[in-house]
């Protein structure tokens, strides 16, 4: 019974082992010539012009949240609308509850000033 899973276990061990081996090897074999360029942040070839640890304005997140509210609504509404005729009346109630909950979220965001950019 165990034999059947032997490959799996070997794979686990090899996978883990190879990862460790490569880490150790690169640490061991790799040359270490530190230059200024090497120590700078890699920005896909661009010259980094200020610190990478930057803060985004919380407003970006708010936009993202608004997006989720509408996005999810659409994602669920669309198939629901397509299949509408085949669904039972319960589905209408369920969808209204769903929309109400989403609307509550939207309302909350609106009242907290999530849409106002300033």
């Amino acid at each position: 019974m165990l034999e059947a899973y032997l490959p799996l276990i070997f794979m686990l061990i090899f996978g883990f082992g190879i990862a460790v081996i490569f880490l150790v090897l690169s640490e061991w074999l790799g040359a270490r010539r530190i230059t200024k360029e090497k120590q700078t942040t890699y920005e896909s070839g661009m010259q980094p012009f200020r610190t990478a640890r930057d803060r985004f304005s919380v407003k970006f997140y708010l936009v993202a949240m608004s997006f989720i509210v509408f996005d999810i609504e659409v994602v669920f509404l669309y198939p629901w609308a397509v299949q509408f005729k085949m669904l039972s009346p319960e589905a209408i109630i369920a969808m209204f509850i769903f929309i109400a909950i989403l609307f509550a979220g939207y309302f909350y965001e609106l009242r907290k000033g999530g849409i106002e950019w300033q």
Binding site: M1, L2, Y5, I9, L12, F16
Partner: protein, 662 residues
């Protein structure tokens, strides 16, 4: 109806909570005293209700009133439940009735004490514990009450913790409390072991179950080692609580407490707990003739020796304390010869007259501003007429003068001792009765008659206030007529074939035990017949009492200089000092038990065993654990990556174990 029994202990407990928690805030003595007394008074009324319903309704088996099951583990369960039967109701009547009077008395006695509320809180707690003791339906709850009254006794003996008290190696009142507590622990140890054996033997701690099992197959249990062991261990507990030889030493020192405490706890109620326990387990005792004999012998020896010590004491409360010890001995004689109801009868009458004597003594001490030495009293009759009259009644009762309560109960005990064939018990008992009459009248004469030997300039004796004298009067009435509850057949045959009402009342409780004694004894039961011996014995004991009174009158009343007793004391110096120092029992215990133990404890168990070995191991283990802790906490690096690594390692190990272990 019988469910009311729950409230009997509960109400004093509420009283305890109120006076204990809010007593210092109330600041009003009358209010505190009223609350505390009322709590006990209500319990008394409830006891009366139960008494009447038992009187009107014949019940075969005790009524068990469960309150709640605290915990049940397997077959072992701890129930808080109360048992209503003739014995428990009688005791609860005594406890609450006398307790109520003493509460009322204490309002006057403790007037202006700075710990007035604390005193009443303790008293109420005591009543609660005592009621648990007597009303419980199982050994365990009785034991709880047993320990509880011990605690209250300790608290109340040392109530005036800043006062000094004289005794063997006793300096403060607290030391006396300690002594009482520690001596009692020895007895409690016996009680606990007895409970273990009872549980192993009968698989229950309920009185009802144990009694039924034991009496159901009495032939198998009769005279077995296990019964003797149980009863002797129980009796060891009783000797502690009821101050019998060999554990009698604590009671005289317990007089360090306030006098109402001495009256309530160390005369009327708590010390009779031993009698109660023996009566409650009468079936077990009946199954072991050896234990019965031991009980009787211990009782009679205690009765005799305590009486002899009482002859020479000069402290009013000490005389009464030894008298209590001696009277308790009488009760155990009764139990030992199988006359259980006679023993309980004496508990009741003794509660009346000894409570009264102590309260009277309290009134005297109060009137004389804390003077306790009877050699410095005298002629108080004219200052304190009420106290005197009540005291006289109690003295007559305890001496066994006909138709006072003590006469009936003591005489019944002596008659049973004789009729069951123990004439030696009877002889020693009668001698003790002679001494009793003598020292009680000596006390009476020295306190209330003769010259005024106190300091006139500083002490102005006065009668006690109403709250104190009314309880005295009530108790005096009870002491005078209480005995008519137990008129012996020989005196009452002309109006009833069962004139002894108390015996009839307690018949259902003791019928099993009596049956066993009847079945197993070779001695022929006497039954209710008139015996000419009984009258003769009665006459002898009355004569002996009168002789004691006569001697006391000759020695102390007629002769103001006490020439005879002085001469006796100087001629028999060694005997006198032996008696005066209580047969040096305290000194003997200290030399034989306490000092060696202390020495062993200090030099070996503490210095070597405790500090070096036990502490060494404990501290070592503790230090080791702390070291491990300091090491382990380093795993907690605070770096989330490390945590994730450990998690990952854990996951791999767990999955690996699951896959490989199949």
């Amino acid at each position: 109806m019988y469910d009311l029994v729950i409230f009997i202990p509960l109400i004093p407990f509420l009283g305890f909570l109120i006076t204990g928690l809010f007593g210092t805030k109330l600041k009003n003595e009358t209010l505190i005293g009223t609350i505390a007394s009322a709590a006990v008074g209500i319990s008394f009324i409830l006891s009366c209700i139960l008494f009447y319903s038992l009187l009107n309704q014949h019940i075969e088996n005790p009524v068990i009133v469960p309150v709640y099951t605290w915990i049940s583990a397997g077959s072992f369960s701890v129930n808080i439940s109360y048992q209503v039967d003739h014995l428990s109701v009688l005791f609860s009547l005594i406890v609450t009735g006398v307790g109520f009077l003493i509460h009322v008395y204490s309002i006057g006695y403790m007037h202006n004490d700075r710990s007035f509320a604390r005193f009443f809180a303790y008293l109420n707690l005591f009543i609660f514990m005592m009621l648990n003791l007597v009303l419980s339906s199982n050994f365990l709850l009785t034991f709880l009450g047993w320990e509880g009254v011990g605690l209250c006794s300790y608290l109340l003996i040392g109530f005036w913790y800043d006062r000094k008290f004289e005794g063997t190696r006793i300096i403060w009142t607290g030391d006396a409390g300690n002594k009482a507590f520690i001596v009692n622990r020895i007895g409690d140890f016996g009680f606990i072991i007895a409970m273990f054996i009872i549980y192993v033997t009968f698989n229950s701690l309920e009185y009802q179950t144990v009694t039924e099992l034991a009496s159901g197959s009495y032939a198998t249990y009769f005279n077995t080692g296990i019964m003797t062991a149980i009863t002797l261990l129980l009796f060891l507990g009783c000797t502690g609580k009821s101050a019998q030889i060999p554990l009698a030493v604590w009671l005289p020192d317990a007089m360090a407490g306030p006098t109402p405490v001495s009256a309530l706890i160390h005369a009327a109620t708590m010390v009779t707990a031993g009698v109660y326990l023996v009566a409650r387990t009468s079936v077990l005792f009946a199954l072991s003739p050896v234990s019965m004999t031991v009980v009787a012998i211990v009782g009679v020896l205690t009765a005799f020796f305590a009486a002899t010590i009482g002859l020479v004491q000069n402290d009013i409360k000490k005389v009464l304390a030894y008298s209590t010890v001696s009277q308790l001995g009488f009760m155990f004689i009764a139990l030992g010869v199988g006359a259980f109801s006679a023993g309980v009868f004496h508990v009741m009458t003794h509660a009346f007259f000894k409570g009264l004597l102590f309260l009277g003594a309290g009134a005297v001490i109060h009137g004389l501003h804390e003077e306790q030495n009877i050699k410095r009293m005298g002629n108080l009759k004219s200052y304190m007429p009420t106290t005197y009259k009540t005291f006289l009644i109690a003295t007559l009762a305890i001496s066994g003068i006909p138709f006072f309560s003590g006469f009936f109960s003591k005489d019944e005990i002596l008659w049973y001792a004789f009729s069951k064939g123990h004439w030696s018990l009877w002889l020693i008992g009668v001698t003790a009765a002679l001494f009793t009459a003598f020292y009680m009248f000596r006390l009476l004469y020295l306190v209330f008659f003769g010259k005024e030997r106190f300091d006139h300039h500083h002490i102005h004796p006065h009668e006690a206030p109403k709250t104190m004298t009314v309880p005295l009067q009530i108790l005096a009435v009870l002491s005078a007529i209480g005995g008519f509850l137990g008129i012996p057949y020989a005196l009452g045959f002309w109006f009833s074939s069962h004139p002894n009402m108390l015996e009839n009342w307690l018949e259902p409780v003791f019928k099993n035990a009596q049956f066993i004694i009847y079945k197993t004894s070779t001695h022929i039961e006497i039954g209710h017949k008139i015996h000419i011996e009984e009258y003769i014995l009665m006459l002898i004991s009355v004569g002996v009492a009168l002789l004691g009174i006569k001697l006391a009158t000759d020695f102390y009343k007629k002769d103001e200089l006490w020439t005879v007793p002085r001469k006796l004391a100087t001629n028999n110096k060694r005997t006198f000092s032996l008696l005066y120092n209580k047969y040096k029992l305290d000194e003997f215990y200290f030399a034989a038990v306490v000092d060696p133990l202390m020495l062993a404890a200090k030099s070996f168990f503490w210095q070597v065993f405790d500090i070096k070995i036990i502490d060494g191991i404990v501290n070592g283990l503790g230090a080791l654990t702390k070291d491990i802790g300091n090491y382990v906490r380093k795993i907690q690096t605070g770096i989330a990556q490390n945590y994730a690594l450990l998690m990952m390692a854990g996951i791999i190990v767990i999955i690996a174990v699951i896959i490989f272990s199949s």
